[in-house]
């Protein structure tokens, strides 16, 4: 071992971060110790703070240190439109587009019987209760366009068959700025099937 025990321990601990292998961990540890000890102190404090105090919003299940998150508590938003997502990152990404004024519901995962993830783990009954209580006009199912994401979306839609609520799925198609040449067959088939008229429909 060429490093001191404390340094070795820091390197090992840094590897819990996603995408950080042994070389990157080494570089990060040395950077923190050689050039940026103040930032390291701040980072450690922010990490402990967040780990101890961030829980989940009781309404939408996203990460939040308040019992109800900022978005759910915001009266100016349209609480009748709920966008259903797989993870808090997706929420952030949609918020950053700035175009959605409704509220969210975060499943924190997708149905995956093989991993033992069922509807209860995703809070689907909580979502259905909320729709059944009324006041919801549309549910936008924005789970990922993967097999599991699709299955989860279809499961939720099926559970709400009896409710008078509009249920939609985000569009699949060619990404903006992409080239048809590089788009896979499945996406292209979806894009063709989901084509929209350019003339305004009368």
């Amino acid at each position: 071992m060429a490093f001191s025990p404390l340094l070795q321990q820091l390197i090992t601990s840094l590897r819990c971060l996603p995408g950080v292998g042994p070389k990157t961990a080494q570089r990060m540890a040395l950077h923190l110790l050689e050039r940026d000890r103040d930032s390291a102190r701040q980072l450690a404090a922010a990490m402990l703070d967040a780990v101890e105090r961030v829980g989940e919003c009781s309404r939408c299940r996203t990460l939040s240190e308040e019992p109800v998150c900022e978005i759910c508590a915001d009266e100016s938003r349209d609480h009748s439109i709920i966008c259903v997502l797989e993870s808090p990152v997706d929420l952030m990404v949609i918020e950053q587009t700035g175009g959605f004024q409704g509220v969210y519901f975060v499943l924190k995962g997708h149905l995956s019987p093989i991993d033992g993830v069922g509807p209860d783990d995703l809070g689907i009954s909580q979502l259905i209760d909320r729709v059944e209580q009324g006041g919801v006009s549309e549910l936008i199912l924005a789970t990922n366009p993967t097999v599991e994401g699709e299955a989860t979306a279809h499961y939720i839609a099926a559970q709400l068959n009896h409710c008078d609520v509009r249920i939609s799925r985000i569009a699949h198609g060619v990404p903006v700025g992409g080239e048809l040449e590089y788009v896979d067959g499945g996406t292209l088939a979806h894009a063709m099937a989901g084509r929209r008229s350019l003339r305004s429909e009368s």
Copy 2:
């Protein structure tokens, strides 16, 4: 802002790590909070521990929480051969090859008048004192093969002109496993100039 303040603060703090941009920081923060809170606690503790307790070895200037690092304190190593390096990472890399049995001296940088880095910042006088005190048979200058690294090596060699000590520079040449076709001209010129006889010299 779509994230809670604590989460936002964690994301901002993570960006002090080298190679971590906004997207990676987001992914790291959510990974820690959603899946790995125990590791986050450990990482924060390791970080604080290292930042508070790791200083530098009084003999070789590498990072160490002891006044004298493990390598300098190791009596079984050859203390008459000193390998001079730019950074503690280089020390680690050489240690991992397992082939060097001498000791090290870490400059923590290279001469760079433009950034205000002079010989005193690199502990060069400490190195020269050590050589002048005797007991050193060889100084291997293993600074990086960059303009600054070369200048630093030549400066140290010039300062030790009056001492009866062997001063060597690591070899420049074609990397093992590389192909000549992809090697740059400067390296190739060094490799030609530094060629060695395959027959044992008589």
